[in-house]
Symmetry: C2
Amino acid sequence: MKICRALRASTAFAAILALPLSAARADEGMWTFDSFPAAKMRADYGWAPDQVWLDKVRAAAVRLTGGCSASFVSDAGLILTNHHCVATCIEQNSTADANILKTGFTARTREEEKKCAGQQAELVTSIRDVSEQVKQAIGTQAGEAAIKARSAILASLESSGCPDTARTRCQVVSLYGGGQYKLYTYRKFSDVRLVWAPEAQAAQFGGDPDNFNFPRYSMDASFLRAYEDGKAVATPNHLEWSARAPIDGEATFVVGNPGSTQRLLTSEQLAFQRELALPITLTIFSELRGRLIAAMDSSPEKAREGAETLGGIENSLKVYIGRVKALGDPAFTGRLAAAEADLKRRSAGNAAIGNPWADIAGAVRAYRDFYVADRFSLPSGELFNYAVTLVRAADERAKPNAERLPGYSDSALPLVEKRLLDAKPIHPWLDQLMMEWSLSKAREYLGADDPQTRLMLGMESPEGLAERLVSGTRLADPSVRKALWEGGAAAIAASTDPMIVYARSIDANDRDLQKRYDELVDAPLTSAQAKLADARFAAFGDTIYPDATFTLRISYGRVQGWTERGQKVPTRTALGGTFDRATGAEPFDLPAAFVKHQARIDKKAAYNFVTTNDIIGGNSGSPVIDRSGKVIGAAFDGNIHSLGGNYGYDATLNRTVVVSTDAIQEALEKIYPAPHLVAELRR
Amino acid sequence: MKICRALRASTAFAAILALPLSAARADEGMWTFDSFPAAKMRADYGWAPDQVWLDKVRAAAVRLTGGCSASFVSDAGLILTNHHCVATCIEQNSTADANILKTGFTARTREEEKKCAGQQAELVTSIRDVSEQVKQAIGTQAGEAAIKARSAILASLESSGCPDTARTRCQVVSLYGGGQYKLYTYRKFSDVRLVWAPEAQAAQFGGDPDNFNFPRYSMDASFLRAYEDGKAVATPNHLEWSARAPIDGEATFVVGNPGSTQRLLTSEQLAFQRELALPITLTIFSELRGRLIAAMDSSPEKAREGAETLGGIENSLKVYIGRVKALGDPAFTGRLAAAEADLKRRSAGNAAIGNPWADIAGAVRAYRDFYVADRFSLPSGELFNYAVTLVRAADERAKPNAERLPGYSDSALPLVEKRLLDAKPIHPWLDQLMMEWSLSKAREYLGADDPQTRLMLGMESPEGLAERLVSGTRLADPSVRKALWEGGAAAIAASTDPMIVYARSIDANDRDLQKRYDELVDAPLTSAQAKLADARFAAFGDTIYPDATFTLRISYGRVQGWTERGQKVPTRTALGGTFDRATGAEPFDLPAAFVKHQARIDKKAAYNFVTTNDIIGGNSGSPVIDRSGKVIGAAFDGNIHSLGGNYGYDATLNRTVVVSTDAIQEALEKIYPAPHLVAELRR
């Protein structure tokens, strides 16, 4: 359930348009730590955590830059997260001879722990309200000027907040779509290593068919360790490990980083999603899925090398299929329409609020005109990403911090650099496939005669161009990237690497589209959304929470099943159920270690369970914490109904799916034995 | 622009739900020959054809069972149609050594003309109104009983109408969704042979990117010949060939068989399409497209063998993308909603009409409950199709004609038998790909635990099951199919062929779904639609036309461009424009013969042109006829706006795309020389 980052324009749009529905009901809510609804929880549960409790769990909550959540679970930097959150790392450390994605992995010593390229662990150390500074800097400006002023003040706040860029990271986050701005400071650990992972088949048992479904039998857990200066980081503020089964009805907390929700799209915005953005997404990603499935079928190497990418695509697709389903359900959209009508009624006559709905409709109309161009302005592929990052960084780094594109501010650059320069395996066939696909989709949606198509393809075919660029570039070599990074604008201008030459040739067009987006879409939306936020605060006071922004949140709920077409869905599964569900045929074939250790395994150990916690993609790997503050599982999925959670939470149906510590402990003791980890968790 | 027959449930639904919008405006209308709107055309054009003219062109109009239209253009059974209508035949007659799909084909003698497996040419000889008989047979019955009564009377009418099943074919067609029933009698020619085809690259120049676009440079034309008893059929009633350029503004007629339109879906039906049916279609066919593209990339044989299937999928996908776009355009759907509101107003107070909209809404709601099961009840693949046809025919043929499933009535069986027994190449890899894909999609949409999934997969994976069935079956051999066909129920029951065994195992579930559809969807819809038809006749008199039903229609219009985003799109292209548009990269690379004969080609010859005629998929290959009754081109496509034509015609934007006789003549004389055909056309 990772955040899909593949859809630049649409996710950008999504993140920015997002606002919550109305006053939160039942267990709804992804709350910030500074406004936990203790009174409300106490009313419902007869108990709620106090500030000491909240501070304690917050201090152990980890964000992973790959788009996941996690937690420290020992005093020596040991991190619990999901297997699917580290699958890229496992795949990168696999070879044809030692396919640890397939076999699983246990580092017997610290020395055997394997570096995860591009991965970084982050811990929030402070949150400061900077709304006034940001709003003052924007002042009465509008259009592109407003966006530029905002970028400048954010860059400045982030830069002055974190002078030590090696150990800290600052991010200003816009909450309530522009209603509040908060400066998050993170202690960061950019050396993260793989400690333990089960077989992929244990983590992914049931594969795509079971994804977002329940009952479920998945060992979707892994351990990482944070390092600094070559040594494991000391983490005295860790969560205590409690290897036990969940109890029906007990209170549970999920502490993690939900990626993005869109819970107060106006009807115009929903129409944009349903009519334009989502159909394109379904269509092009389904084709990519098909291309990849068939390409992987042609050799065992490709099957191995493409597995992680395919898993990500299938996961994202299911998310989008779930969203389409939600927006195609008249009952669901009826509730959203009713909430919109309600807020309009409550705000009628409030002159300060005006008509933000009309302003938003205007911005959406404007975006409809160039959405396709914006969406298809850059091809896909790791190598192309390197190239466009290098080209852009060379330009941006030469500018003062306040004038750069947001992704290239001083506070953002260290992670950009790390991702660019970290060594990682490149699979040219996969890059070529991604480029062919994305270029052919650009031509298809723009049309062969469109100027942007001509700019992107010239006289070449998508296949010919992709082949020429991928086979000709040397960017797979980290030292080549390093030389271009360090050489700056002069090195980029002088480069004859075909991928760099190509990225140079299409960069200006993409920048123009960004400008147009800032001017015609982002600026009016930000202003209108701030007014909508005002309307909501006026109507509902502090009973609301901001939409998800991949920042730390806490959700409360309880261990509870649900009713599906009249049938009660159980609260949890047992480890032994794996053997009953196995068919022998992929993806329902048993993991080798399960077969091998079948006799020893405690079949009754709790395996996966569901809770009413309100989560979304980005929460993957979040610790599930009991009333005593101990970790009893790792959230790894939602049920199929939770996919509509992007637009609204339904307490009767939305569920979080968790792998229990009971099962992980059983795995550590008997299936993928790691006695030293068992000891470390007990310490 | 062929009819997509791949989507059983949804196209069945589509065809049955269809009714026209309101009184036809401008050049809108796919008119039946017995109600050509001569007065209206005369008012707009100052001229209209008389009965003699209409009878003459009707007598030369050919329907091809593959889903296309065509016309006789010589006295010796020569048939003009599109290249894409015969691509399957060309591919079937291609080998690795003689890839005539790539090289083009000219039969220098009659003996060299190549049989097209499964192809049949049909000529309407009479149309009789049988509405009273059908309505009387249904009487006051409802639900499944009504559908059974209708099937029985149709089977009986068709059977008694065409005792000579070798030379004639009878079909009762429901017009106005049940408002009228007409018995069409066809003279059929089941031996059709390939005479002439250009290179695929000439026909498909611009490929998928240019499909449904204009300006266009496509030689999408071919010639077939009808045979009987081993001899070319004499066709004195043929169209006269006029090799000339079109004149801007001149009147044009398209005479052919539009496949299906849905121009009076109620708002509930449109919602069903937009929210449920179309997103699934886009998603699963895009994945299939991707699987096929990548599989074809793995070898030149697969590239050749899969080309025709891929072309069909891409064409269908574009159609569906166009439909999604139309239904996502608020202006377009606003017009449809206004027309519905208008008809409701006009019908208010007419007690005989009642509230068919509510009845239709009920049927749609009922279908939502089992649409996914219905849609995914049978896997795809030629070999599976053979198997399920054999299994079903064995059951059905043992029943009296009136009690059979509609597809197995006496009148339908000869074509079923021909398609089953005609020899044609099977590509096992392609069948396996289709089965894997369709079975995995069934599991995905139904869920792994669904009883239908368990029925269809058992303990196997989609990949394992497909591999076992495709590698184990002997149904690729026509003699095996023949033995099973002739052996009837006993042979089927005794067969151990794995594909037959599998088809037997899932047949009953599909029959149950069909029953449920008849009872809960088809019966209430048919009854409600008949009332809607009454409402329309009451409101608009005879100024309306029935939705398309793949039966012969005539459309009038004129040679005319349109305006796209403020730019005038020209009326036609010239043959020489091909050279300007060529990039050298696929699919914009020049056909070899164009390069070879470049110096001789008349660059100014008219190539493709657009007209305002109202057509849709199934019209491909239709003759485009001038005022004098001569053929001046073959319709082969619509522009991108014509895809919304499924739901409504917009005279300012919808255009038919035609390959001119001027260009075909040039090809016959200079590019793919066939002097004997030139002589035959002049005769």
